[in-house]
């Protein structure tokens, strides 16, 4: 799904969720190559290392995204998950929400034999010194959107175009790199949905 379309879809779903027209949703998918800037990157783009023309020549779009966080990359082989959840009434704590998202990823990759962890002060999910999943969230009247991006079979060299999340001295990794073989995205979505249901105490209904 194009990034632009995912923005439009999410903004509609957030409005519908706020109005109580739809249940909680978890959108999963992949984006074409795109670099997105969170609100922390709005006033300075120092963490985008490649020039606009370089990005253009490589067919990479650049978007400002209404989510928390700095800059990140999305592309084929990376699973993006965008929960549209109403956190009211019992989960109105955005730190808890972010820690819960991390827990979902930690449990998901655990099913593939990967032991990932949190790093205090550096939101996201890490394996050693490398980031496996990035988080950037928007909350509007306690309805969430945006979410996290988990590198499954991501071509990691694309991250060299940016300084991921504006953090120096750390790298990125993927499930495929950690397990030594490509991983089925559908299998990850399946594990992810189950972990998500468990952590957030929701029942699952799958829709194409």
């Amino acid at each position: 799904m194009s990034y632009r379309r995912s923005l439009a879809l999410q903004s509609r779903m957030v409005a519908d969720r706020q109005a109580g027209l739809i249940p909680d949703l978890l959108l999963c998918g992949e984006h074409p190559h795109v670099i997105t800037l969170g609100v922390s990157a709005r006033h300075r783009r120092a963490n985008v290392l490649a020039s606009r023309s370089v990005l253009q020549s490589r067919g990479i779009d650049l978007y400002e995204a209404p989510r928390g966080g700095d800059v990140t990359y999305h592309g084929p082989g990376q699973l993006v998950a965008y929960p549209v959840l109403d956190l009211k009434p019992e989960r109105c704590d955005i730190h808890r929400y972010v820690r819960d998202l991390e827990e979902v990823v930690i449990r998901t990759v655990h099913e593939f034999g990967v032991e990932a962890a949190r790093v205090a002060g550096l939101t996201g999910v890490w394996v050693g010194n490398d980031k496996l999943a990035a988080i950037g969230v928007r909350v509007s009247r306690w309805v969430t959107s945006h979410g996290f991006a988990l590198n499954v079979n991501t071509e990691l060299e694309y991250f060299s175009l940016i300084r991921p999340c504006g953090i120096d001295g750390r790298g990125v990794t993927s499930l495929a790199r950690l397990t030594g073989a490509p991983v089925s995205l559908d299998a990850v979505i399946d594990a992810l949905a189950r972990s998500f249901a468990l952590v957030f105490d929701r029942d699952l209904v799958f829709r194409e």
Binding site: G68, K88, Y97, V137
Partner: protein, 400 residues
Amino acid sequence: MATSVLMPQLGESIAEGTIVRWNKRVGETVDRDEPLFEISTDKVDAEIPSPAAGVVTEIRVAEGETVPVDTVVAFIADEDDATDGPSPAPADLVPEATNSGSEPAPGRVLTSPVPSPARGPSRTTQSSPIVRRLAHEHGLDVSTIVGTGDRGRVTKEDVLSAVEMGDQESGATDRVEPMSVMRRRIAEHMVASRRTSAHVHTVFDVDFSRVEALRMSHKTAFEASAAKLTYLTFVAKAVVDAVQDVPVVNSSVDNDSVVYRKDVNLGIAVALDRGLIVPVVKRAQDRTMAELSQGIGDLSRRARDKQLNPDDVAGGTFTITNPGVFGSIVGMPIINQPQVAILCVGAVERRPAVVANEVVAQTRSYLTLGFDHRVIDGAVADRFMGIVKRNLEQFDESLL
């Protein structure tokens, strides 16, 4: 009357927020609940609705600035400002507020403030958890506060003005705080246990010298491959092994029957900021020291991170509580129903002991067994504790 707009607290552990965007400028009108600004904290961008309808008269915190929770970030005034009696707005705001009332910006028609939404006959109070907590902190019941927010919602301002009024009326100092759900459940559980079991306690003085020595010599190797090697891990292992010899301590009472449980599902009491919880290490009898320590470490971590699943706290057959870490020497614990025994570990510390007629310093701890005299007699409890003591004082190094 001017309304001050505060930096909201969007989570228990959040102390500050960064304003990343103002959706309104000074002089612009805003409706109640219309997005007024966006804040960012820990990778979350949150859109904050306006607490009142009116005109933005002052913006105190610029985009990009970070301020503590509850800092005033802006003021919103309605048109009645001048006639509305004493205003809580600070003095430096008054000229500007008056200005915006008498001299609207060119081309802009000031809309009338939106009237308060009519409240229906039923006062089912709506409020956010943060507002409810604020009310609790001030000993107020949210349902007694008149809400001025959307559909009668009680807002932070409503609570604060109720507090102000309360202070003026009574000058009361006692704080009434309704129990949290967790508090209520602990209370019910403890009283029910006292009512159910015939509690008896027996205290054993245990020499931890060998455990201490083993811990020191194996710590590095153990912790490289497994989790932390704590005294609690040794105690857990000693208890689980002793249960094999005295299975009744791992039973429960079902009417007129005693149910001897096949598995030792070991509950570990974990203290939390606002209570305690007892996650359970399942099938502890099949676990090595490393697996026990991993299990305990993982559960305590997830208990503190609020990541436990219902399954993690279910099915316990025996509980260990460890107030020694807080300095307690001897505890007298209440049994965790429907179990029949609970072991309490006092502080493991150096103290004098008599060995071969000499007073020497030793690392020791008082272990207490709280047991249910309905099914466990004193002699049986003491036999169990004797085995736990022996397992610890002569700890089998090959288990490590």
